[in-house]
């Protein structure tokens, strides 16, 4: 299987430098209190009857 985007090796210092380049760009931040992108992070209810209730415990 070939490695895709975001799957290669990444050294800490180099990764940190890249993060520094984009982390505070406005395009990745909240636009305002009604930011539509943030609304997308609001989770559903795990007890939604449509999905069958409380999640099953799962062990390694």
């Amino acid at each position: 299987m070939s490695q895709g985007k975001g799957e290669g090796p990444a050294k800490r210092d180099e990764a940190r430098a890249r993060v520094r380049d984009w982390f505070d760009k406005a395009e990745h931040k909240l636009q305002g209190p009604d930011d539509e992108r943030d609304k997308r992070t609001k989770n559903d209810d795990l007890r939604d009857p449509a999905v069958g209730g409380v999640p099953d415990p799962e062990f390694e």
Binding site: G4, K5, E7, A15, K29, D44, V51, V54, P57, E58
Partner: protein, 271 residues
């Protein structure tokens, strides 16, 4: 208390927080349960704020919280000390770099993508948030893989703690996490990011001892000097130490002292 996380794990992994904690909003508290773990990681075990407490501080009583709301609740809970930062519209390289650089984060996923795998959240198929604490690239070597693929090819994995299960910290293939996140984010990825804990500078914050190993019973190498700047090589899980409230924590800073490794309990050093 015995930690469910093995000693030596690095970066430090806080005790998992199961969101079904008996509180009124337990079924919709995945974002705040993830915040509990983020607070633990960035304070190296010094602070443990329950999702139940964060929910009260949020003032929200309708299903889940957004990352913006959660970040505000965490600020309130920590006296403005811990700032979690929501970031939106990321690509895969950006998400890899967050974890590889030493930052923990919560990530918004769609469980309809994970439902057919061993990384599923029970039978749930909706929107969810899980905690991500590490990234590793696995070489094409037999028995190197730790994720659900059980594969021998070169690939990447994230260390994930799903607060909706009792599964604890497990490795997921990067491909699975990316697909689940992109489905939820409409093609891009949304995260709630904590601060760096690896390869950072921290100051001595209170009296304590440097230890030869991450354990309070290990050899004493001298005092923690309050106000002194220490270079933290990494954070690591170790033996228990007690917080002010009497509860136990397992986070340690690894530093260099007189040319050799030394360890400091999480609460002794602060940004």
């Amino acid at each position: 208390m015995v930690s469910v996380v093995p000693k030596g794990a690095s970066p430090f992994r806080d005790e998992p927080y199961f969101q079904m904690d008996g509180s009124e909003f337990e079924s919709s508290n995945c974002v705040l349960a993830t915040c509990t773990e983020l607070i633990g990681r960035v304070t190296v075990g010094r602070l443990r704020v329950s999702a139940k407490r964060l929910r009260v501080l949020s003032g929200d009583t309708v299903n889940g919280l957004t990352y913006g709301q959660a970040a505000i609740a965490v600020l309130k809970a920590t006296g403005n000390e811990i700032r979690l930062e929501p970031r939106f519209g990321l690509d895969r390289d950006q998400v890899r770099d967050l974890a590889a650089s030493g930052r923990p984060f919560g990530i918004s996923i769609d469980c309809s993508v994970t439902i057919g795998t061993t990384r599923r959240t029970g039978s749930y198929t909706g929107g969810h948030t899980v905690y991500v604490g590490d990234y590793q690239h696995r070489a094409a070597v037999l028995n190197e893989c730790r994720c659900e693929r059980n594969a021998a090819d070169a690939h990447a994995e994230f260390n994930v703690e799903d607060p909706g299960t009792h599964a604890t910290h497990r490795w997921w293939s990067a491909g699975l996490l990316y697909r689940a996140a992109e489905k939820r984010g409409g093609g891009a990825i949304n995260v709630l990011v904590g601060s760096d804990t690896e390869g950072v500078q921290r100051r001595g914050a209170m009296k304590g001892r440097l230890r030869e190993k991450p354990d309070v019973t290990s050899n004493d190498l001298g005092p923690v000097v309050q106000g002194k700047v220490y270079e933290v090589i990494a954070t690591v899980n170790g033996g228990p130490w007690k917080r002010d409230d009497g509860t136990e924590a397992f986070g340690w800073h690894q530093i260099v002292h007189d040319g050799a490794p030394a360890f400091v309990a999480g609460e002794r050093l602060r940004p």
